[in-house]
């Protein structure tokens, strides 16, 4: 049975809400008369859903929503809105409330709204249970040379890591940096054949060169191929561009004091620092990044 905590300073309204929810069936309803009492009730037992009035003495609905969202972000909150509480309702929705029902429509809408939220919660729980059993994810992408896709791809891969249980923030950040570097490398230096030295140009000029090359043959036909194999033991990312390749040994050491001002080499260095293995294919247009995870 799903549990609902109802917060309202008006005893008549409280009882009316209890009546509506219990009549709908399948819900265990608990009533409290204030925001403070609601927070105390949450400390004792976390309900599936909170329903709250907005205009209450001492702690209004907006303040209560902020407190609940901060401490119990998984608990959806339904607002009961009435004439004069519109501004508080908008603020509370921005603060994280899940839904609202006008007090004049409680009889028609309140129970359905609660059941919908309970169903969403149930599906999320099942999804979490399923994801917790995921052991491996493989995927492949074929991208145009559009750097705007890089953050999305990186985000997707980090989600893949989390999906198989690697939720450590420092791992996510390290892999994000390495992937971002490898993908930008493939697009800018691989497919578009832009040297880092070109970035010394005025930024508008640099952007114009990028724009032109993305429209010219052979650059525009080139793709970036990404293959990811993510498991609980390791993550392998193979990134290939269709440019002419390069010799990784030709890169200057960016940490050499005499090279500190040089525009190139830092990306590959960050890749090598944050991944356990970084291997360029002999032609230089494909790189394998490997991150290993200790059991």
């Amino acid at each position: 049975m799903s549990t609902v905590l109802v917060v309202d300073d008006n005893p008549v309204d409280r009882m009316a809400v209890r009546g509506l929810l219990e009549k709908a069936g399948g819900l265990s309803v608990r009533l409290v008369e204030s925001g403070a009492a609601a927070l105390e009730a949450l400390r004792q037992s976390v309900p599936d859903v909170v329903i709250t009035d907005l205009v209450m003495p001492e702690m209004d609905g907006f303040t209560l929503v902020k407190s609940i969202v901060a401490a119990y972000p998984q608990v959806p909150i339904v607002l009961m809105t009435g004439f004069g509480s519109e501004e508080i309702a908008v603020n509370a929705l921005h603060a994280g409330a899940a839904s609202y029902v006008p007090k004049s429509h409680l009889a028609n809408l309140l129970a359905d709204t609660v059941f919908k939220l309970v169903e969403i919660l149930r599906q999320q729980e099942q999804q979490q249970r399923l994801i917790g059993r995921l052991v491996r994810q493989d995927c492949e992408f074929e991208l145009d040379s559009d750097p705007r896709l890089v953050p999305s791809i990186v985000h997707y891969m980090v989600r893949g890591l989390r999906g198989v249980g690697h939720s450590d923030e420092s791992i996510s950040i390290r892999v994000s940096v390495a992937l971002e570097e490898a993908l930008n490398n493939a697009i800018y230096h691989g497919n578009l054949e832009l040297s880092s030295a070109l970035r010394e140009l005025d930024s508008a000029e640099y952007r114009e060169i990028i724009r032109q090359r993305r429209e010219q043959s052979p650059y525009r036909e080139r793709k970036v191929y990404i293959r990811a194999e993510i498991s609980r033991d390791e993550a392998r990312f193979r990134i290939r561009d269709e440019g002419p390749g390069f010799d990784p040994r030709s890169l200057p050491d960016p940490t050499d004091p005499s090279n500190l001002d040089q525009p190139s080499g830092r990306g590959v260095m960050l890749m090598r620092t944050f991944m356990d293995e970084v291997t360029f294919e002999p032609r230089g247009n494909e790189v394998l990044l490997v991150k290993r995870f200790s059991p």
């Binding site: 994000s176 930024s203 508008a204 001002d261 080499g265």
Partner: protein, 141 residues
């Protein structure tokens, strides 16, 4: 133009505070280039002695942000002004250390500290050598 804003620029008496609002995924994004160009122009004002680059909103960054910082630092250094960084995340500091940028650009905890003191938090910057070009036809990032 989209609604995305990449940076803010704030002028004080002899300083400029540039705050990056999000990680720059690509150097070619129109809005970003426009904003960065405006920041570079503001930094070129000869009365600006110090530019503070705030990275408060960036949990991490890569070579693109590093190159932006380098580009700005070189321009400022050429006319006797300086670039300092502030609000660098622990991971950001690690990146700066790995590429030895902590030797090139002073890092302060806050904007206020950067404006008030000339003592860097992490280390003393080395005197940089002049830029020399390397004849490599294709340089990777």
């Amino acid at each position: 133009m989209s609604d995305i804003q990449f940076l803010t620029v704030e002028r004080t008496e002899k300083s400029l505070v540039v705050a990056l609002l999000q990680n720059v995924g690509c150097f070619s994004q129109d809005d970003f280039v426009h904003e960065w160009h405006a920041a570079l122009q503001a930094a070129a004002d000869p009365t600006v002695a110090t530019v503070v680059l705030s990275l408060r909103r960036l949990p991490y960054f890569g070579s693109i942000v590093l190159e932006m910082a380098l580009q700005l630092e070189q321009r400022l250094r050429a006319r006797g002004a300086r670039l300092v960084l502030c609000h660098v995340s622990p991971f950001g500091r690690e990146i700066l250390r790995i590429v030895h940028f902590d030797r090139l650009i002073p890092v302060f905890k806050t904007v206020e500290e950067a404006l008030a003191t000339s003592t860097p938090v992490t280390s003393t910057p080395v005197t940089s050598t002049p830029v020399t070009s390397t004849p490599v036809t294709r340089l990777r990032a």
